[in-house]
Amino acid sequence: MSLTRRTLLAAAAAAAPVIARAQGTPTLKIGCLTDMSGPYKDLAGPGAVAALNQALLEYGVSGKGMKVEVLVADHLNKPDVGATVARQWFDRDGVDVIVEVANSGVALAVAGVAKEKNKVYLNTGAATSDLTGSACNTNTIHWVYDTYMLAKSTGGAMVKTGGDSWFFITADYAFGKALQRDTTDFVIGAGGKVLGGVAYPFPGTSDFSSYLIQAQASGAKVLGMANAGTDTINTIKQAKEFGITNKMRLAGLLLFLTDIHSLGLDIAQGIVLTDSFYWDMNDRARAFSNRLSPKIGGARPTMVQAGVYSAVLHYLKTATAMGVDKVKLDGAATVAEMKKLPTDDDCFGPGSIRADGRKLHPAYLWEVKKPSESKGPWDYYKPLATTPADQAFRPLDKGGCPMVKS
């Protein structure tokens, strides 16, 4: 068929009502950018997407006169891939908000893109406290936890109970370095000292024995594991194997429920760790987990997945308050409004968002149960201590966030 003016007109006429309808019900586009295939897949990945959909379902978007479309992509733990996907989503696909992004390197790259395009960025999976520090911006909220919170809760608890000399095994990228830096500050601040550390290539390291022997030779009392996911799992397994655990205490600076599940209680028992959400910590958390669990293959959600649910819920509430059109138009204004509204959901309870983009809630210190104490799969933690929301995170004026100074 040759293209004539008549067919063009006919096509335009046919398309017109569709466009008009689309303008009638505005569509919010939420992009879930996460690790769907690498070391953080289990703690975020498909479970994070399920948590996102759970938030949409429970909020009842269609009843609120909104349409929501969800896009999912794998950042492959590569900052360049993450930034490229973010650009395509914002420019080509009209995405309004990106959630999740486990991996600090990718997280920092995406924060820059979200700011540049004036969209919203709700990070739940990355750890670096720089997201609300030197790299903070008007379009980013850091939801679940950060390196400062982990360092203060776990590091502080270790030093208090006699673990005053440390050796670090650190993943050699943004996250590992930030975690080591923040923990070092706490250890030294509390009168302890750091005797040394090794930064190993990430990703691609699976044998930690060499670093463990160096850690042991340093004579330090505490081994700080400034890494995450399978790396931490391998470090702990091998520390046990080489008898390091007889002489040093292991500080899991970032451990997720799925890591403990993978290690098994036999090996993981007694490890002290910090999480801001645990599925069995109160009635509301249990209720949420029971609703989500069938959708993630019977597993229990990690704090990152819970964070996706919590962040998306708050975003939707804000969209209702502001109007979807305004939310789509101005990311910075949306984030400003999100900071004004109080947060409340089943996972993290009541909370708030600070000027630098830090979501505030308590930090919980947990100890991994002995096999005899556990009632079955996923019953892994017992509570040790709670740091209240106003003390859990870095003081607002100490982060070096330019938005706060001005």
């Binding site: 070391p39 699976s206 194997e241 799925t258």
Partner: protein, 295 residues
């Protein structure tokens, strides 16, 4: 305390030993690759995925059927080896007449598919596999605390590597294999079924990878990505040793393990790259590798 290059002696000896242990894995994996390349002229990029399958089969045997570590050490290589035979017969054998590059691309694609399937089924954080009771514990060597299991790995690897070498270089079966590689039509004329020999060789190479996978299961978590962590280094080992050289891959495997171990003390950040640095230097000086025969 003795100091060597500013490093305490005991620490250095410990690292040498650990290097040997890692070298054992490099040696076993590169050995299988060398056998396959030497006999089939296929650059088997799926080797890492088959190594991972070995570990998973051991885990599944234990989880579903209660079959323990030592039977798995025999069963898993047989099962994965049989899988390799099927792969060779159905897919890989179609590429023998084409350039190496096609085999490389095909096996690379296969490894992505296999790893993807396992990741979908079992997730990425890995599954626990206990060290068998008899190999639990550790021995104090004076300069370090040596887990018994790691000692066993080195021992098993040495035995397997040198028996493979002896079979290929010193027996009549090995002689047939080598002859079939040199001149297939002539060997066929003597009544040897060459395609079957080739298939079984591929199966044996795959079984070696699976054996290494079972050995690795209790040390690393049984994880769909465990093969891809190794495979790049192992290819460098094969290239440095000389493509297709059996002895070359064994010696280079252990040697590079030690070099890598030492790098982890002096400059840990470079430990992932040092193997490739060695590869560049070797290729510049001896393009056929350390043990490669001249064309």
């Amino acid at each position: 305390m003795i100091m060597i290059f500013g490093i305490p002696g005991p620490l250095l000896f410990g690292q040498l030993l650990l290097g040997l242990i890692n070298g054992a894995f490099y040696a076993m994996l590169s050995l299988g690759l060398a056998v396959i390349f030497g006999m089939l002229n296929i650059i088997n990029f799926a080797h890492g995925a088959l190594f991972m399958m070995g570990a998973f089969v051991a885990w599944i045997l234990l989880d579903a059927l209660g079959i323990g570590y030592f039977p798995s050490l025999i069963l898993a290589p047989l099962i994965v080896g049989a899988f390799g035979v099927v792969l060779e017969r159905t897919i890989i054998s179609r590429l023998y007449k084409l350039d190496h590059l096609y085999g490389l691309l095909l096996t690379f694609g296969l490894s992505l598919v296999i790893e993807g399937l396992f990741r979908n089924a079992y997730g990425s954080s890995g599954l626990p596999y206990r060290i068998p009771d008899i190999l639990q514990g550790a021995t104090n060597l004076g300069f370090m605390y040596m887990p018994n299991y790691r000692g066993w790995v080195v021992l098993a690897a040495l035995v397997v590597c040198f028996s493979t070498w002896a079979i290929i270089e010193k027996t009549s079966l090995g002689a047939t294999l080598r002859a079939a590689t040199e001149n297939a039509p002539l060997v066929q004329a003597f009544g040897v079924n060459v395609p079957r020999v080739v298939t079984l060789t591929y199966g044996a190479g795959v079984a070696l990878a699976a054996f290494a996978g079972v050995l690795a299961a209790p040390i690393y978590s049984v994880n769909p990505n465990m093969g891809s962590n190794f495979i790049n280094t192992v290819f460098a080992v094969v290239v440095i040793g000389g493509m297709g050289s059996i002895l070359g891959s064994i010696v280079t495997g252990f040697g590079l393990g030690v070099i890598e171990g030492l790098t982890k003390v002096f400059y840990p950040q470079a430990s992932a790259t040092v193997v490739f640095l060695v590869m560049i230097i070797v290729l510049l000086a001896r393009p056929r590798g350390l043990f490669g025969k001249a064309a």
